[in-house]
């Protein structure tokens, strides 16, 4: 299958500063990709180069197997995006803004299509309101609508959760999953909410200092990783005594009223069962997001 995105040794320099340094990665069609990196890692610059907002200093970008430089028009018909915050013509209504974007994509559109799209992103009944009356979350939803208006094959979302309320985040998650599962869209998703990336994405790319440091399937990358588990036991003395005498002792890092373990995620249920069978009640159990720990580990070098 042709790659949706392929970056080949792409660099971007501003004077002496290198924002992106010989970056290469591939996004397969039909996947949801998480695109991660600390602030200043070159994420936004990379996304902007893919969207032809910034010209690479070196290297080449291919989308759907074609060079972006040579086939920009055809490629842009297939891509929808939100790059950072969504900005609109505030003196126009939501519908008028979408009409503008539809026209810019050479689409013949009907008002009914735009109404359906607005409903899809949760803005039903707001089409005639001027965008200046919209909250940031509503603009973010409208941003999604403009990204989807031309039914693109590839959707690039840069921090799409920003400004959304919890319901908005759930709606967005469902929309992304629906677009991927039901319509086969490829999605490149950049976010600082790592739990969201872990929930949504099948694959991920992590960049740091403008270079790829990790790329692969999320499950495969995290399967070998240990997580930090915190247990609050009802009877700490009995519980610690049990753990000291068992094989679980190898994972124990800290003991007290709260015990801390570093262990594979897959073994958490086994530990809980072992404690339960030993008659030791657990008041509380939590573990730090696995991707969060993984991300911090690989980017703190």
């Amino acid at each position: 299958m042709t790659a949706a995105i392929h970056l080949n040794n792409v660099s971007k320099t501003y004077g002496n500063f290198t924002a992106v340094d010989h970056l290469s990665f591939t996004v397969r069609q039909g996947d949801i990709y998480g695109f991660l990196g600390p602030n200043g890692s070159g994420k936004s610059t990379t996304l902007r180069m893919i969207m032809s907002l910034i010209q690479p200093s070196a290297g080449e970008i291919f989308l759907f197997g074609h060079s972006l430089k040579e086939n920009r028009k055809a490629i842009m018909q297939k891509i929808g995006c939100i790059i950072e915050k969504p900005d609109f013509y505030t003196y126009l209504s939501a519908t008028e803004n979408l009409q503008l974007f539809a026209r810019a994509s050479e689409l013949s559109f009907r008002k009914a299509d735009i109404d359906r799209l607005l409903e899809q992103v949760g803005l039903q009944g707001r089409g005639n309101d001027t965008v200046k009356t919209f909250s940031h979350g509503m603009k973010q939803r409208l941003g999604l609508a403009q990204a989807l208006i031309h039914d693109p094959e590839l959707i690039i979302l840069d921090e799409p959760n920003t400004g959304l309320d919890p319901q908005g985040i759930i709606d967005l998650r469902n929309l992304i999953l629906n677009l991927n599962k039901q319509h086969g869209k490829t999605i490149l998703f950049s976010s600082h909410i790592l739990s969201e990336v872990q929930t949504l994405c099948t694959s991920m790319i992590v960049i740091h200092h403008g270079k790829t440091i990790v790329q692969g399937k999320v499950d495969e990358l995290l399967s070998t990783e240990t997580v930090t588990v915190r247990l609050e036991l009802a009877q700490p003395e009995n519980g610690i005594a049990f753990i000291q005498q068992s094989a679980w002792h190898a994972y124990l890092q800290e003991q007290g009223s709260e015990c801390r373990f570093a262990m594979p995620k897959t073994e958490i249920s086994l530990l809980v069962r072992a404690l339960s069978e030993a008659g030791i009640a657990i008041n509380r159990i939590d573990y730090k997001n696995q991707l969060e720990e993984y991300f911090l580990k690989i980017t703190q070098h």
Partner: protein
């Protein structure tokens, strides 16, 4: 619908729907009506002061205070304001979108940067044409309706010229044509600056600063300035006045139009060059 036509249509929609587009029309209407009201009230007195100097030589008869004279005065008065009004809209055309962030959506659509720039430039020229059209209707037709028509008495560096009323309409058409060309140069210069800057104010201020500096250079008879004058577009922005001389200096007017067209094409070429290479990193 071709992509360029669609892009052009979008730019027209934005120009028409943007509140700031109407400020220029409001200002022109206000200035025209204000001058017409002032001349309606005190025009005869003002003119008698002017004609008193030539009364001993000429016998002035008929309606001197007519629509043609008022239009001539309004056009001379607005020579400073019109570029500002044009720059106010065209200087914001790209920098405004960069500042507001909408440029990102615009440039991630299939239209090429050249198509987007040309669509914006043409929309700017359309706006300039509309401004001149409103000015023409108000300054010429409304003035003729209020003051009546008549021969135009124009005083210039060469002396006093009387243009007969039945020989004036083609001159007005030519004058508005040259004024449109002059303002198109300003609009194109503002578009060029708009490509280079990321905020709306700086291009507008820079256009005005350029016009002020060039006009000052044009005012002084200093040899080192004289070398520059023929190449400054501001020198040729007042070429429309030559159409009200007798005989009309066609070769001078053609030279001025040539210089203006050269500036227009140079500014447009530079705008395309810079906009094609501009990184949208904000």
């Amino acid at each position: 619908m071709s992509l360029f036509v669609a892009t052009l249509q979008n730019e027209f929609v934005k120009t028409i729907r943007r509140p700031r587009s109407y400020i220029g029309f409001g200002i022109i209407t206000f200035i025209c009506l204000m001058l017409q009201a002032a001349f309606y009230q005190d025009g005869k007195e003002i003119l008698s002061t002017v004609t008193a100097q030539i009364d001993s030589i000429f016998s002035v008869q008929g309606n001197i205070l007519n629509g043609n004279l008022i239009c001539f005065i309004v056009l001379q008065t607005l020579i400073v304001q019109m570029p500002l009004l044009v720059a106010f809209v065209t200087g914001d055309t790209l920098s405004g979108e960069t500042a507001s962030g909408t440029i990102r959506f615009l440039l991630t659509r299939p239209a090429s940067r050249i198509q987007i720039l040309l669509a914006k430039w043409l929309a700017g020229l359309f706006y300039t044409l509309m401004l001149l059209l409103v000015l023409g209707i108000l300054a010429l037709f409304v003035s003729r309706w209020i003051f009546g028509s008549g021969d135009l008495m124009s005083l210039n560096s060469e002396g006093l010229t009387i243009i007969r009323a039945d020989d004036i309409n083609w001159r007005w058409m030519g004058a508005f044509g040259i004024a449109f060309l002059s303002l198109s140069v300003v609009a194109t210069y503002a578009t060029l600056l708009s490509c280079l800057m990321d905020n709306s104010i700086t291009p507008i201020v820079t256009v005005m600063a350029t016009i002020i500096v060039f006009t000052i250079i044009g005012l002084f008879d200093i040899p080192s300035f004289d070398v520059l004058k023929p190449y400054l577009f501001t020198t040729h922005m007042i070429a429309w006045r030559s159409l009200f001389e007798d005989p009309v200096p066609y070769s001078d007017i053609l030279f001025s139009c040539g210089v203006l067209v050269f500036h227009l094409l140079a500014f447009l070429g530079l705008a395309i060059y810079f906009f094609n290479r501009k990184d949208i990193s904000n």
